[in-house]
């Protein structure tokens, strides 16, 4: 079991009070598993991704544990986390285009980063990996401004995976890209796992169709909690949570036309996480809600590898 998260709670401090962005999350990711983490804005998916590597200034660890390869990650302790970052858990950020120091040559920056982390040399490996994503070693002698957006993204992908982390978090890496580059980036991620450069991966996205292409399993979040986790194929073809079901059926696909089949969205809005209502958080928008939903359903296994948080998911 590469990653196991137990009852993780992370709150955001805001002017109006604490936003319970992540409110009791329990799941695990197996060795070699690529898990897609899908959800809409405000679902808590980014908070989850961030809290596994670095809480930002306004985030507070309110409870729960994270274990990676049997060791507990001290996620609330910024200093103690440094040891794990990059080596054990690494991140490809959403902001790849601006993730590189603009006034340092790329090679120099990576060298200084590696030296600071106590990793000697590594130039040959770096060049080899750049080649793997189709970049020549010349980019090391250049400043970020001299590279195109796509090149910067690939450089960041290579740097992030340089120390063969056990867990790689890819946070919305494709959302700003065109379809053809999306595909290239997604297949590169897949290649990292297949070449053994990373053990497991969490691909955070709002685009289920995209993550479906490369993920083994998909975890769907709603309003700070988990809704459903299942093998990708199952989640897309036979979802059990009413939210997932409605979400998947709201996605237009190439070939579906308005005249032939009118799709429908989910009416209503997610609840505010400042003072979230008790019980199932989807209940107000749920077509099958009943009395029991006033109580929070457990995230229970309904079939092997298929977990759902819904009283009606049998």
């Amino acid at each position: 079991m590469a990653l196991s998260v137990t009852d993780l709670r992370v709150y955001y401090q805001t002017l109006r009070g604490e936003v319970k962005a992540l409110d009791g999350v329990t799941f695990s990711v197996a060795d070699g598993e690529i898990m897609g983490l899908a959800g809409e804005s405000g679902s808590g998916k980014s908070t989850l991704a961030k809290s596994l590597i670095r809480l930002d200034g306004r985030m507070r660890h309110a409870g729960g544990t994270v274990e990676l390869d049997g060791r507990t990650l001290p996620i609330a302790d910024d200093r103690a986390m440094d040891e794990f970052r990059f080596r054990e858990v690494s991140l490809i950020p959403q902001y790849s285009m601006s993730a590189l120091n603009p006034t340092r040559k790329i090679g120099k920056m990576v060298g200084e980063l590696l030296a600071a982390r106590g990793v000697p040399g590594g130039t040959a490996e770096l060049e080899r990996r750049l080649e793997l994503v189709g970049l020549s070693k010349d980019v090391l002698g250049r400043y970020p401004i001299e590279l195109s957006g796509g090149m910067k993204q690939r450089v960041v992908m290579v740097v992030s995976t340089l120390l063969n982390p056990s867990l790689l978090i890819a946070d919305e890496v494709t959302s700003a890209l065109d379809v053809s580059s999306q595909k290239a980036v997604a297949t590169t991620l897949l290649g990292f796992r297949d070449h053994g450069l990373v053990t497991s991966m969490m691909v955070v996205t709002h685009d289920i169709s995209l993550v479906y292409q490369i993920a083994d399993t998909i975890l769907v979040m709603y309003a700070g909690r988990l809704a459903e986790k299942a093998p990708a194929e199952v989640l897309v073809t036979a979802p059990r949570h009413p939210y997932t079901r409605q979400l998947v059926s709201a996605l237009p696909e190439v070939g579906v036309r308005y005249e032939d089949r009118r799709l429908a969205g989910i009416p209503g809005n997610p609840p505010s996480l400042l003072n979230p209502p008790g019980g199932c958080r989807f209940r107000d928008r749920c077509p099958v809600a009943f009395e029991q939903c006033a109580e929070q359903p457990p995230f229970a296994e309904v079939a092997p590898g298929h977990l759902v948080a819904c009283w009606k998911a049998e």
């Binding site: 998947v248 237009p252 190439v254």
Partner: protein, 322 residues
């Protein structure tokens, strides 16, 4: 109704406009009443520039855009034009001035176009417009933009356009920033407007969205039309290698990329494959080249040269003639 003819846009960049950058070149297509035309392209394809030129937010460098046969740049009174043509943009949050209440967008319309209408009657009209986009007026009026969701804001903007009783709506990536569970409703709204006789120019980078809602599709690449025609034809029988590669790259829900035929794997392979396939433009008969640079391969289905080897000698000939 709306007709673009050989439209180009050249930007001057650098100090004192030293260099020229061609964003759009020689684009021509039409949007009829009650017709949704989607303009599909990747970033840098010039699709948004075309939308802005139609909205007269950017000047046309070459060619003409006409509305009912009238060159839009010759319509001196912009208000007269904007009464008929309106736009909705990508980022709903950026469309609202954050320091004012959201319904100010309606107030602006009233102030500019209907100063004579009484407050009560106007309120009735606003409420009707909001209901027509399935918003509860009580829920959205009087709120600040940050208190509303992206979907609600986007619908308010559509309601704003509806208030003017327009004939053409330019919808520039209007749902790409919305959540999956609400975007389809906004898309459906466009289809409803079309049923009311509105022409819609739907600018998008997302093929599945364009396919869902549009009657005709124009595929842009580097500022030029690669392929255009009735949506079922363009998506069902793409003739330009670029269209094909785009379609191959679209993530689908029930088919994985890996399920596709082996030749369509990672990057650029579709392009390579194009060399083997004959270029639809040069295959077509001389007589079918009814539009500049485009050959009509089926009824209303136009395709441009794939950039094949056949282009070189022909270009040479053209140059010699010129």
């Amino acid at each position: 109704m709306l007709k673009l003819d050989g439209v180009s846009k050249v930007y001057r960049v650098g100090a004192f406009g030293g260099r020229a950058l061609t964003a759009v070149s020689g684009v021509g297509f039409e949007v009829g009443e009650g017709e949704v035309v989607s303009l599909i392209g990747e970033s840098g394809s010039g699709k948004s520039t075309i939308g802005r030129m139609v909205l007269r937010l950017t000047q046309v460098s070459g060619g003409t855009i006409t509305l009912d046969g009238r060159d839009i740049s010759s319509i001196r009174d912009r208000k007269e034009y904007y009464r008929q043509v309106q736009g909705v943009f990508q980022d709903p949050f950026s469309c609202f001035n954050p320091i004012f209440r959201a319904d100010r967008v309606f107030a602006l319309i009233k102030e500019q176009y209907f100063p004579g209408v009484g407050a009560r009657e106007w309120r009735g009209r606003v409420e009707d417009a909001l209901e027509s986009v399935r918003l509860d007026p009580g829920n959205v009026l009087g709120k600040y933009p940050h208190q509303l969701s992206g979907g609600q804001l986007q619908r308010m903007l559509i309601a704003r356009a509806v208030l003017l009783d327009i004939r053409l709506l330019v919808a520039d990536e209007i749902i790409s920033m919305l959540d999956a569970s609400t975007r389809i409703d906004v898309l459906n709204l466009l289809a409803d407007l079309r049923a009311r006789g509105l022409g819609i120019l739907f600018v998008t980078h997302d093929l599945s969205l364009g396919n869902y809602v549009s009657d005709r599709t124009v595929v842009l690449r580097d500022g030029r039309i690669a392929e255009m025609g009735p949506t079922p034809l363009v998506f069902g029988d793409p003739r330009h290698p670029y269209t094909r590669s785009l379609l191959a790259a679209v993530p689908r829900l029930h088919t994985k990329w890996t399920d596709a035929p082996v030749d369509g794997t990672a990057d650029g392979t579709a392009e390579e494959r194009a060399e083997d396939l004959p270029c639809a433009y040069h295959e077509a008969a001389q007589g079918s080249r009814t539009r500049p640079g485009l050959a009509e391969v089926a009824d209303g289905h136009f395709v441009a040269c794939s950039g094949c080897a056949g282009a070189a000698p022909e270009e040479k000939k053209m140059k010699e003639r010129a």
